[in-house]
Symmetry: C2
Subunit: 351 residues, 2 copies
Amino acid sequence: MAGGVGSRFWPFSTNNKPKQFLDFFGTGRSLLQMTYDRFLKIVPKENILIASNSHYKDLILEQLPELKENQVLLEPARRNTAPCIAYAMNRILAENPDANVVVSPSDHLILKEDEFVQTIKCGLEYTSTHDDILTLGIKPSRPETGYGYIQVADITGGQNIMKVKTFTEKPNIEMARMFLESGDFFWNSGMFLWNVKTIIAAFDLYLNEMNRKFEKGKDCYGTDQEQAFIDSIYQSCTNISIDYAILEKANNVHVLAANFGWSDLGTWGSVYEHADKDENQNVTLKCKTLLYESKNNVVALPEGRLAVIQGLDGYIVAEADKALLICKKEEEQRIRQFVNDTQVKIGEEFI
Amino acid sequence: MAGGVGSRFWPFSTNNKPKQFLDFFGTGRSLLQMTYDRFLKIVPKENILIASNSHYKDLILEQLPELKENQVLLEPARRNTAPCIAYAMNRILAENPDANVVVSPSDHLILKEDEFVQTIKCGLEYTSTHDDILTLGIKPSRPETGYGYIQVADITGGQNIMKVKTFTEKPNIEMARMFLESGDFFWNSGMFLWNVKTIIAAFDLYLNEMNRKFEKGKDCYGTDQEQAFIDSIYQSCTNISIDYAILEKANNVHVLAANFGWSDLGTWGSVYEHADKDENQNVTLKCKTLLYESKNNVVALPEGRLAVIQGLDGYIVAEADKALLICKKEEEQRIRQFVNDTQVKIGEEFI
């Protein structure tokens, strides 16, 4: 899944080039490319599908030139994850009804690649013989309030696949501390594994109307008619997440416990945490910096640009082609509001 | 004179487009254009000469398309004001040995244009009948430590042209307060008036070698040979200011007292002081801004750009094509050092 707009990183990420397409850490590969590289260790490249908004087609094919055009599934409208996954699963069903599938966001950070590969392979082995929905749960390392949590029914067996008890929203800090201590809560990573028949059955049950729309395209998938068919039905799909529509309702959902150094990179704070820092705890992304009496900042300008900064402590300094943002790190949750204000008061061209 | 590099305003002003070529206040005219407009009220346009570095020839002709190419005197090297003025005066002498001349920087701010015109006309009347050097002295309004001062010999007569007693360097605040109270000190504006014979005589006396170099070109001035001649001698001229070389030595220097709302716009502080401010005392130059919990800042980005700023108090935020500067207003005297560091540590391309 590579359709997000990443407005929390505006203006470093923009509608035209959201987070998954950026090389956040200066490795030479964008988050999407790193996700692709990771999955190449698990599946042959022709089995990888990228689902994204039509708007990003060229960007995807440019960043992943190894892909054939029909490996990129284009959503003509933003409708959250359920329609996106319904589309991809019906397409896969048409090609291979025995397929085992991993669904993954393309803008997350994974530090321990070997453990990632091992975990995914273990999950796929499980789904090839069980009609269960697996959701990847990350063993929490701190009382994080920025993530949703999943509680499992029974942790005592020591196995790494456990039946889900409840999904919870982002907790406050006291709750998060309790979750961490209890040992039976996992971070909800948004990565899923299943065999395609299992998830299609779940769509049939919980999102029947949506699933029937995509079912009707079974003769179009993989042909020249696919895009026209999708364009004709996608707009009318309910805007809903797969978590809310299916995961929280189905009774065959299990957590696959994982511990591979994961971050959803959902905030500047999490990017700051994972990036290299200078001796004054400043993070420089992509650009060059000269810093004086400055600490704890994250500076993210486009490649080839320079920031000379004096006397800043704890700020985000981020820039794209036309817009510059300077904002205290602790106020970063307001960036979406700033983007909104910019749209309303200044103009679309800066978004 | 339009040859300055304005590094104190880096990166808003750059080597490629220094301060005099910028429309600081969003009036639609650059400081150079405003200076030109002002002098059009005093002399016909064909009597205006612009002296600048060769580098800025195209920029000058673009900003002042009314000028003929030979009204732009091009210095092939930076040699401070004395060689620049020696060149211009010898050129004028060749064209009209009876000329009365005003020499003026092109990057100053003058608020009361009518009083400016009146003062200059009064000075020109004086120099047409006196072989004196006039330097424009601004009646100080505050104990400014950023300017040089001129003390006059006798203030009691109430006249507005007074013999100079001493030139002083930039004072500390205690001295500046004493100067202000004493009533016989004026700010040194760097604007001069004289008849051309008087200044040539002074050059002959105090910068004889330099003057003889320019004298040799008398048959070239105004012809196709002028530039080649200047290029052949300019480099070898002493790098020295007219103040130091002549004004502080000659005994026929008088102050023409002026009071027309003047600033040399030599610092961000002075630009900040003269620019329009929002209700939180923020100044926005050229660009668009959205400001939250921010006050006392000056934000100067290129036209068409947007700055969204949260939680800044008392900063300069300035940007050009490739470089961004964020710096406390009170630390602005360090900008030259930052530019230096950038040149040494990062690269010429950002200067």
